[in-house]
Subunit: 337 residues, 2 copies
């Protein structure tokens, strides 16, 4: 089985290494900023669950084009890049890698990230997944991962979008099942679901509340945010708005996972964990682009389409884009100084 | 006529100097941070409308207690301090100055600033005013003022609050008229209104939108805020929410002033003016307390009471208090360092 990981950061490394460990997968890793380090030394993994090891992809590619310089086609593309549609178009990015037998798995944050791929690669299974993982790339090629990884995989139901939706769903679900099994063999807690969009929305409930509020509240971590009563209420209210949007868009209740069965429970569960700075705050502080298009703008547009009023989300989004603009300007001022 | 100005910053200086210029008023100025400078040199005024001059109050007091060390009682107390109920209680502050013939005029931002005084000094006329003025204290005792000053004065209608509301209104309105006339003689464009609360709310529409958004958007001026479409929409939406609250609370349409007859018109008018950093942003950047209790919290509580949903105001308020907490902590960390 030939698998290409596009974006071999912390998440891509853990997934690629576990698939390689099955002995059944040939892994091509597309690296960008860490290419030189990975080519020479591989990816050093420090993990309490999977142990310490060095992952050496079967082929380390410096770009997507480079990845195609091999004499086989890919069974799976696993996309682990940030979702920044304004900067990188995933369709254009992966196009050289797609052949008739390729399945495309998108492990990215946000809502609507797979729509373009579904449209542009109608003959290929395309499915987003939901990953729960605590990992980070400490330096190029050096990955730290704590705890187990949970992966939720499932095909989209394209009812109303394509005529042969039931056939498509069954076909895609088989490809989901095949990769799920491989992840299981590799030691990852992966499950198959028939309501993947519900899980995507459940993750958005957390991501689209804690992420932007951490930035627009001046750089607060989860504990700081939840310790101020007005802001704790705000987080809950934002989550209720997204929960309702998710249920309207998917047409069914969101999946109930222990500890996250309501916004109140989700906030309580978050407060029990160590103080945490959400990824959007890290991006903001490092003047990197934030994933607000897929995490906030797409949900906002869907809410509008489904006539659901989500004013609290609307407010933090409007503040966030202005903050980013100011942040970028101060960045370019610095560059000019 | 004996008048005491409590809080002789930029606004207090301009008002006190114009009242003294009538030749009919003896002015006591309560100064705090600028006391030494004012006692020695008076207050230097640089004004394109009123000309350049030095205002020497008839008595410069270092405190309210000091102000009472004179052999007369005050006809008017004019309060020009910031409205920070959590730090300074206006009732306790001015109590030593109040005698049976004293009228109390509150020139402060926000909603509900006069409620405590009305309750504690039931025998005294108490009225808030609305001031439109562009002035600043450049250094202790040095005041700059551009353009004319517009002052709107009027008694509260306490219908439903006190039994003799009509008598009270007429009595208070006479005291308003007397001071209005003095301001006019002193060259200030002062007018009497019978719907002062409508004018207060109209000012809140501007203050409670541009002020907090400038802080929670990372320190933007008016032009930056209005140049980002999502944020311009947010400002308008916040203003619509406050406009509706003001109309519900006052029970009548807000007064229509040219250039501010709707939130859209107010934003367009603001965009035509030079870029401006609202006062709350200055306070935030200088780690001074912000007037969010009277500008946001009181309107929010009234909205709740009148069952008006103002989610966008709610959101910026929740973010603002967390930002302030973080700002204060970074301040005290600095003090400890």
């Amino acid at each position: 089985m030939h698998i290409v990981i596009v974006g071999t950061g912390a998440v891509g490394t853990i997934l690629g290494s576990r698939l390689q460990a099955t002995g059944q997968c040939h892994i091509t890793a597309v690296c960008r900023s860490n290419f030189e380090a990975v080519r020479h030394n591989g990816l050093k993994i420090n993990s309490d669950h999977f142990g310490n090891s060095v992952f050496k992809p079967d082929y380390v590619a410096s770009s997507v084009e480079d990845a195609t310089n091999q004499d086989y086609s890919f069974d799976y593309i696993i996309v682990c890049t940030k979702a920044l549609p304004a900067l990188t178009n995933t369709v254009d990015l992966i196009r050289p890698l797609v052949s008739s037998n390729t399945s495309i798995m998108l492990i990215q944050n946000g809502i609507g990230i797979e729509d373009d791929c579904i449209q542009h690669f109608p003959q290929n299974p395309v499915f987003p997944a939901v990953i729960y993982i605590m990992c980070t790339q400490l330096s190029p090629g050096e990955i730290e991962c704590s705890g187990q990884v949970r992966l939720i995989i499932g095909a989209n139901r394209l009812k109303g979008v394509v005529d042969d939706h039931e056939l498509r769903f069954e076909r895609d679900q088989k490809h989901c099942e095949r990769i799920r099994e491989l992840f299981n063999i590799g030691g990852i807690d992966a499950v198959l679901t028939d309501q993947i969009q519900g899980y995507r929305w459940l993750k958005i409930v957390w991501n689209a509340s804690f992420n932007p509020v951490s930035v627009v509240s001046g750089g607060c971590d989860t504990v700081e945010m939840l310790s101020q009563p007005e802001t704790a209420d705000l987080l809950c209210t934002i989550q209720h708005e997204l929960w309702a949007t998710g249920e309207a868009v998917t047409g069914q209740p969101l999946p109930l996972i222990p500890g996250t069965r309501s916004p109140e429970e989700l906030c309580r569960a978050t407060l029990k964990l160590p103080a945490y700075k959400p990824s959007m705050l890290h991006d903001y502080l490092n003047k990197r682009p934030m994933e607000h298009e897929v995490i906030l703008k797409n949900p906002l547009e869907l809410a509008r389409k489904y006539k659901i009023h989500i004013p609290h989300v609307e407010t933090v989004y409007a503040l966030l884009v202005l903050l980013e603009k100011k942040n970028n300007r101060s960045n370019s001022n610095k560059d000019n100084a």
